[in-house]
Symmetry: C2
Subunit: 193 residues, 2 copies
Amino acid sequence: MSDDRRVETTETAPPTGREAVERAALEMFEEQGYAGTSVRAIAGAAGVDPALVIRWFGSKEELFLRVLTLTEKPVPDLSGPRETLGERLVAFALAPGQRDVRRDLTALVRASDSSSVRSRLRQITRTLFVERLVERLDGPNAELRAHLIASQLGGLLQSWDVAEDQNVAAASRDRIVSLYGAALQVLIDPPVK
Amino acid sequence: MSDDRRVETTETAPPTGREAVERAALEMFEEQGYAGTSVRAIAGAAGVDPALVIRWFGSKEELFLRVLTLTEKPVPDLSGPRETLGERLVAFALAPGQRDVRRDLTALVRASDSSSVRSRLRQITRTLFVERLVERLDGPNAELRAHLIASQLGGLLQSWDVAEDQNVAAASRDRIVSLYGAALQVLIDPPVK
DNA sequence: GTCTATATACCGATAGAC
DNA sequence: GTCTATCGGTATATAGAC
């Protein structure tokens, strides 16, 4: 009575208890943030008892960290000509298809009062971005430059999110890709001095 | 019975009721963030009744917004040679003396689940930085470039804060000033293309 | 073992007495 | 104006039913 109940959990299956909680939690954390989402609301959306959520996942924060890993989200493609990598990174970050990634990062940043969340942010930046990017950088201080490029992208995402269709977001995406891409490119290319 | 009670509220005076609440609130919001600070704790530190805090300021969020305006904090000096403005902006942002400003901005970003807080962040960026910087920028898209420079600085501050003496923060400040300053400079100088 | 129901302790905010 | 008492909400932990 255990083995063959779920054949393939790719999609469309009515989620079982724990999985229903994880899906509801991810959606609500993305939508309303950590503080704005209660364990009761998650449990209600998943159709389980609130106490079970704590029972299964330990705490609200553990559930948050379990669900916001970004591991199943796409990562930027770092291959291709290095001369235009800056522009392509900006275009990737602002692409409509990456909205979920942006919302996840926003939720993590806004919950970063917790040191566990800050640690998770460092881990995501390092493993999903810096470690891959540093392989493509020549010249001195490659790792520091990769971290600073990550900082640039993080700042852009934050402004994009705070702007809410004003100022920055009102400008055409193409202009931002061109301008901000050039600023990234300075740290991609080996320093001249 | 009203006019001459407080002669000068510059400094050192034992803060009266409302002012004691504002000072305690600012310090605790900077230190522990919005969610980590309770109205009860603020009232306790200020020596007043918790209910009075709500009575005087309306709500916890209104008190937060009233206190986190950055209006009394120093602003970056935008005068001087424009060729080195990028480096000077980075040096200003990371200067030990600007720690309070960084903490205020961090507290605002982490509370930006609220649209009122996002609006305050936009206002601060615009009036304290973009409007002043745009006067020093030549070439097309000056306002957009100023906003993007603000994004770069915001991203650096966020990384600096999340890093916590690891990675980015471990590198020497001078190297960051040089590298990241050059990236800012690309948006300060008029675009070549 | 798995889940239900309940208990504790805190929060922001309010009503109403003084 | 000030403060006591309290309301409805939260997260978390536990006792006990199945």
